[in-house]
């Protein structure tokens, strides 16, 4: 398996083994606090290991968000499928969830004590904010990429503004912006890009 980052087409000849996939997602699951999981996966899978290329990652990320289910488990299933088929997906899924499963039960067992520690709430807020930074890096890279096409930039801003500023329900925004954005790509000469 390749440990170095690859900037060209993903190394389909030597995808990582099932155990390597399991161990990587186990680590991501255990070390990921506060909601920046997509950022972690991007860093480990694309930036550090080059298992898949950035385009494929962004495509899987969009798919994972639009389908039901937690974004991060969907992304893990997608990446596992891409690398090793059913076994890869199962490895990524089990790796991602088994660590947090144990951790959350352990934390629940000692919760009463932890709540008494001074400044625990502030520390958690700070950790969560730093984790959001990881997520912002992926979002900003993706934003730069899709904004090369005017329609992409419009769809991005419309989605963000609809959900974050105007508080339109998620599903409604996806149903309104999604088809328009896909149509714009279809009529905007997408055939060359395929």
């Amino acid at each position: 398996m390749s440990v170095t980052a690859s900037s060209s087409e993903s190394p389909a000849a030597a995808p990582p083994g099932v155990l390597a996939i399991f161990l990587l997602f186990l680590r991501i699951g255990l070390l990921s606090f506060g909601g920046g999981l997509t950022g972690w996966v991007f860093r480990e899978v694309v930036v550090l290991r080059g298992w898949i290329v950035e385009d494929e990652f962004m495509s899987g990320m969009a798919l994972g968000q639009i389908l039901p289910g937690t974004n991060i488990t969907n992304l893990a299933v997608y990446i596992g499928q891409r690398l090793r088929g059913p076994a890869g997906s199962a490895a990524a899924f089990l790796g991602l969830l088994s660590g947090p499963f144990v951790a959350v039960l352990l934390l629940a067992s000692v919760y009463g004590v932890l709540k008494q520690l001074p400044h625990s709430a502030e520390a958690m807020d700070g950790i969560a904010a730093a984790a959001i930074g990881l997520l912002l890096v992926v979002a900003m890279r993706g934003a730069r990429r899709v904004s090369k096409k005017p329609a992409g930039a419009v769809a991005l801003v419309a989605t963000f503004a609809g959900v974050a500023i105007f508080h339109v329900p998620f599903l409604l925004v996806v149903l309104m912006v999604g088809p328009l954005s896909v149509a714009a790509a279809w009529f905007g000469g997408v055939a060359d890009a395929g």
């Binding site: 255990l30 070390l31 990921s32 506060g34 909601g35 860093r43 930036v47 990320m61 969009a62 798919l63 968000q65 639009i66 389908l67 039901p68 289910g69 937690t70 488990t73 299933v77 499928q81 059913p86 997906s89 899924f93 499963f101 959350v104 039960l105 934390l107 629940a108 502030e122 520390a123 958690m124 807020d125 700070g126 969560a128 904010a129 730093a130 984790a131 930074g133 990881l134 997520l135 912002l136 890096v137 979002a139 993706g142 899709v146 096409k149 930039a153 991005l156 419309a158 609809g162 974050a164 998620f170 996806v174 954005s181 896909v182 149509a183 790509a185 279809w186 997408v190 890009a193 395929g194």
Partner: protein, 179 residues
């Protein structure tokens, strides 16, 4: 655990798995209603505590489901609840991902991909903003988030755990100076 609990956990969480479009936060209110009002698995107070624990632990926020299962049915309950919430949506995602990959390069696939990617990124940004506004840190949280993003852009190999330690320490230090 009572005999009817495993089935009830499955009956509640499997449907939630398949409607949780937009991730775990979209089904939070529904889970609260089922767990507190309908099935009386936890009280309101316990629900809030379990929510806080799931936010403090690593992993997806939906691990709240694990805690509800654990509360009502021990380790077996935790396993059943977790699998009920995560497996159905993952199977669906697997099927879609497999089809998705097989059609790579076709025009409709490229149009869908190009059209949906900006939507996905918009949602990520909106999600990041909503977590920041929910957290108790206020402007400090925004500063820490953008600071850590800037640091990561400048030095991509900085270990995230170092960022977390920095973020937590700065938040506590600022709080102590203010107080």
């Amino acid at each position: 655990m009572r005999d009817d609990v495993p089935l009830a956990l499955i009956a509640v969480f499997v449907p939630f798995s398949l409607v949780s479009i937009g991730g775990g936060t979209s089904i939070l209110a529904g889970i609260q209603h089922q767990a507190v009002d309908v099935h009386h698995w936890v009280t309101s107070r316990e629900f809030v505590d379990l929510f806080a624990i799931s936010r403090a632990a690593p992993g997806p926020g939906s691990m709240l489901t694990t805690l509800i299962g654990w509360h009502v049915g021990g380790l077996a309950g935790a396993l059943i609840a977790t699998l009920s919430l995560f497996v159905p949506s993952s199977l669906l995602c697997y099927g879609v991902a497999a089809v998705w990959r097989r059609h790579r390069g076709k025009r409709w696939h490229s149009a869908l991909e190009q059209g949906l990617t900006p939507v996905g990124i918009g949602l990520i940004l909106a999600g990041a903003l909503s977590i920041l506004s929910l957290s108790g840190g206020g402007a400090l949280s925004y500063g820490l988030a953008f600071g850590s993003a800037a640091l990561l852009t400048w030095r991509p190999k900085v270990h995230p755990l170092l960022l977390f330690v920095l973020g937590g320490s700065i938040a506590v230090a600022v709080h102590m100076v203010r107080a």
